[in-house]
């Protein structure tokens, strides 16, 4: 895989260009990572300056991280609502646009309308969930990003930003919790 060294960080937490270094360390398992995170927090690294990557979903609490707010449920609700309305339009409005009687039924019957509305609501829910979550995750994004392939081999990657002055201190903390591959994160095109 090709590396493209670049100074720009897209994990930027607002610190101005060049005024900060980003470090990445790999851990073998969760507990040490959690301890390392605690130590770093204690050392005054802001939570949003740290990112943990793992090949396995660790519950946030496991790493002592806060849960972040999601727009997803609202996107889904909005989607469902629009699906509902579209269903209504098709099953209730269109029969009146060109009136044709069938089998002595009323132009709009409850059961068919119910089915159509229901199905379209569900369809919209599903689709909006998918698009919603992609949107939340900024996917797709194929640009270069700091990452390490060992993540999918079971390591946890802790990446953080700090001012150059504190780099040594941070490295020590990481080593203290026997992290390996400590250093400038590889930026690889994903």
């Amino acid at each position: 895989m090709r590396m493209r060294p670049t100074s720009r960080s897209d994990e930027a937490s607002g610190t101005p260009e060049g005024s900060s270094v980003s470090l990445m360390g790999l851990f073998d398992e969760g507990t040490r990572t959690a301890e390392a995170i605690d130590a770093l927090l204690a050392a005054g690294i802001a939570p949003e300056q740290m990112v943990v990557m793992s090949g396995v979903p660790y519950p946030e609490q496991a790493l002592g991280r806060r849960r972040e707010w999601l727009a997803l449920p609202y996107i889904v609700l909005a989607g469902a609502a629009s699906g509902f309305l579209f269903g209504l339009f098709l099953s209730v409005v269109t029969p009146h646009l060109y009136r044709l009687d069938v089998g002595g039924h009323p132009a709009v019957g409850f059961p068919p309308a119910a089915i159509i509305v229901f199905v379209f609501t569900m369809m919209a829910t599903i689709v909006s969930t998918f698009l919603g979550v992609l949107w939340e995750m900024n996917f797709p994004r194929f640009g270069p990003a700091p990452y390490h392939k060992l993540v999918t081999d079971g390591n946890l990657a802790l990446m953080l930003e700090c001012s150059p002055s504190r780099e040594g201190e941070v490295r020590q903390i990481l080593q203290a919790h026997n992290a390996h591959h400590i250093g400038e994160p590889e930026r690889m095109t994903l």
Binding site: V52, V56, R65, Y98, V102, V119, V127, V133
Partner: protein, 467 residues
């Protein structure tokens, strides 16, 4: 595949083994079979493609000459196409059953088989989706069923069950495909990290740039949660709607209120059975013994058995009322089934559907792949026959004996049906070579939540209830 699964102790060892494995080893264990596509594999692909090609030719032939080249006639207007359509829809129900329902129930044994199940759903639906087109007299006008503004001021008739079909099936197809894909992303990233060349580019595209940050995991979990809730009513509605295709007519035997639940249960029965069949084969074909273990087949077998019991219950509930009501035409139909020209099909249906229930009651059979394969195959033979009886059998009789009919199939129909079966297997085979067949991250997650605890002289897995 006549090997029986190891004894209890050995299984624990296996589990311990898996527990002891490093993640990288698991990755390799899963990726390895994907990478190697031997002569046998390509031979299979070639054969299947040939069948599909022939089926496509048959379809072209059908379109050019007209529906007459099938065995349909008056009054048997629907035959093998609709039968197979119902069959595939049925098959498609296992995927959501497994992954969605069991995910909600936090049934942990689901983990290694979810992806196989979801893939089955998606592909079965694709095959099913072909039939509404194939059976049209003027397929080139199918777009009139799609609601779009047009200069004729005309919209489709949403009172028609076929319209319900159209939207419900497309919803289910979209839903299950997205569901499959969403849960696939992390494994795509994994595959991306362990491949290069063409596959790398493919996986890179599919991984969408996944890195496994906490935020990504968190969102993925939420999305999957919503999906598994949302897709269950859909999968219930789809087969109900399919059943209403029949139930809304005044055709004797079709005009029944129990059809919807009866079809749904039948669908789950055949779907789960088909899943078990496929798992046994894939396990052997891709050497996934380590991941697909006796515990999985055991539990799967149990559900199949239960579904079978439900099917029997619903079948009997319907049959009883039909028999008791003693409506002349229905009486005639029952006569045809019990002692008439439909008798062979009828008895085949009953044996092929009931015997497996008994077989699956034995753990030994559930955990012996060969036996399980046999039992579950039998189930699907039975369920296909059931659909034959419902669609073709019923249509041969109606209220005016003068108008009764018979049906003889033709090479065109058979070829097209074969096409979808071959197409399904083909898609599934290719899929298994492109995508990690067992959801690696889910297994790892499971592993993460397990610890082996020693009780007396037994190693017992204990799960951590964290969310």
């Amino acid at each position: 595949m006549s090997e029986t699964l190891p004894t209890a102790e050995a299984q624990y060892d296996e589990r311990v083994l898996l527990a002891k494995r490093k993640d990288s080893e698991i990755n390799q264990a899963v990726l390895q079979p994907m990478m190697q596509t031997g002569r046998g594999f390509w031979g299979l692909v070639a054969a299947l493609s040939a069948i599909v090609a022939w089926g496509v030719f048959a379809w072209g032939y059908l379109i050019y000459w007209g529906i007459g080249v099938t065995g349909k006639n008056r009054p048997v207007y629907w035959t093998l196409f609709i039968t197979t359509f119902v069959f595939w829809i049925g098959i498609s129900h296992a995927g959501t059953m497994i992954s969605a329902v069991l995910r909600l129930l936090k049934a942990d044994w689901r983990r290694p088989i979810t992806r196989g199940a979801e893939a089955m759903t998606a592909f079965a639906l694709m095959m099913a989706g072909l039939y509404p087109l194939i059976h049209l007299g003027r397929v080139w006008k199918f777009y009139w069923m799609i609601p779009y503004p047009n200069n004729r001021f005309m919209w489709p008739n949403f009172q028609s069950p076929l319209m319900w079909d159209l939207v419900a099936i497309s919803t289910y197809l979209i839903g299950s495909t997205l569901y499959l894909y969403l849960a696939l992303i992390p494994d795509m990233a994994m595959a991306r990290d362990h491949t290069d060349g063409l596959r790398y580019r493919l996986y890179r595209m599919l991984a969408l740039g996944w890195r496994g940050t906490e935020a990504e995991w968190h969102k993925l979990h939420r999305a999957l949660g919503i999906f598994s809730v949302a897709i269950i009513p859909i999968f219930l509605s789809v087969h109900s709607i399919v059943s209403w295709d029949f139930a809304v007519t005044v055709q004797p035997r079709w005009h029944s209120t129990i059809f919807a639940p009866y079809f749904v249960v039948g669908a789950i029965y055949s779907g789960l059975a088909a899943l078990a069949t496929i798992l046994v084969i894939v396990r052997r074909g891709m050497r996934l013994q380590e991941f697909l273990r006796s515990e999985h087949f055991d539990s799967l077998g149990k559900i199949v058995m239960v579904a079978g019991m439900f099917w029997t219950y619903f079948w009997f509930a319907g049959f009883l009322v039909e028999w008791y009501g003693n409506e002349p035409v229905i009486r005639e139909l029952i006569r045809q089934e019990v002692s008439g020209r439909l008798a062979p099909l009828f008895y085949l249906q009953m044996t092929a559907n009931l015997v497996p229930i008994v077989l699956l009651a034995f753990r030994r059979i559930r955990t012996t792949p060969a036996a399980l394969l046999g039992a579950t195959l039998l189930v699907n033979v039975g369920m296909y026959t059931e659909r034959l009886l419902i669609v073709i059998g019923s249509l041969q009789r109606n209220d005016i004996p003068f108008n009764w009919g018979t049906y003889r199939t033709t090479w065109v129909e058979v070829s097209i049906v074969a096409m979808t079966f071959a197409g399904f297997v083909l898609l599934y085979t290719l899929f298994s070579r492109v995508v990690p067949y067992v959801p690696v991250w889910e297994i790892k997650e499971g592993r993460l939540r397990y610890t082996m605890r020693r009780i007396g002289r037994l190693l017992v897995p204990t799960a951590a209830e964290i969310e």
